[in-house]
């Protein structure tokens, strides 16, 4: 892991397109600004990890296939 020391209003470049700026340091909280191309998705790590884990759980297990009974949506006609 590369460790850099930055102060408020100082930045880090990742490649040529991504700029991470420390905006404010207050106690144990840091406000960070991220400038990145629109095609780069930026997420908080814990939310990213939650979705990643749920996707893994959603990948169908062997034996779960087109013959499972699926609930009808409310208001639908049988």
């Amino acid at each position: 892991v590369l460790v850099l020391t930055r102060r408020a209003n100082q930045s880090i470049m990742i490649g040529a397109d991504v700029v991470i700026t420390v905006l404010e340091v207050r106690g144990d909280q840091v406000r960070i600004g991220i400038k990145a191309p629109r095609t780069v998705a930026v997420h908080r790590e814990e939310v990213f990890a939650e979705i990643q884990q749920e996707n893994r759980d959603a990948a169908l297990r062997p034996g779960v296939g087109p013959d499972i009974a699926l609930p009808k949506p409310p208001g639908s006609v049988n």
């Binding site: 629109r38 095609t39 998705a41 997420h43 908080r44 939310v47 990213f48 939650e50 979705i51 990643q52 884990q53 749920e54 996707n55 893994r56 759980d57 959603a58 990948a59 169908l60 297990r61 062997p62 034996g63 779960v64 296939g65 087109p66 013959d67 499972i68 009974a69 699926l70 609930p71 009808k72 949506p73 409310p74 639908s76």
Partner: protein, 145 residues
Amino acid sequence: MLVTSDRFGALDISEDRVLHFPDGLLGFASSDRFALIDSADGGPYYWLQSVDDPSLAFLSVVPFAFFPDYQLDLSPDDEVAMGLTSPTDALVLCLLTVLRADDQVTVNQITANLLGPIVVNSATRVGRQIILADSGYPVRAPLAA
């Protein structure tokens, strides 16, 4: 396009039913193409079968059928990434997690990921899993009949 799958056998999928996810689905970055397969009963369900991995498939649902109040606001970044110019071109799907691996699955054992829906530009068939970070939506919302 011929797609082999563990669950559906060999499938002949027309190109306009193949979805492309340039970023992959989170956790499955190596599979970026999925065949969109309608559910047999014509309900709001779709199977997503990986074109690259016969064993990898997901079950998804059009969320509005079960969650009529569900709302998602796409960021301009998401719209640009998908080339989405009109909301009517957006196909929204939520992956379902089936909690028990047999035929006797009941409603409350199927949950929908409302926090990380999949949005597909149906005009270009380019899709992206988006994260509604500040929405408060859960990753496991039981399907209510």
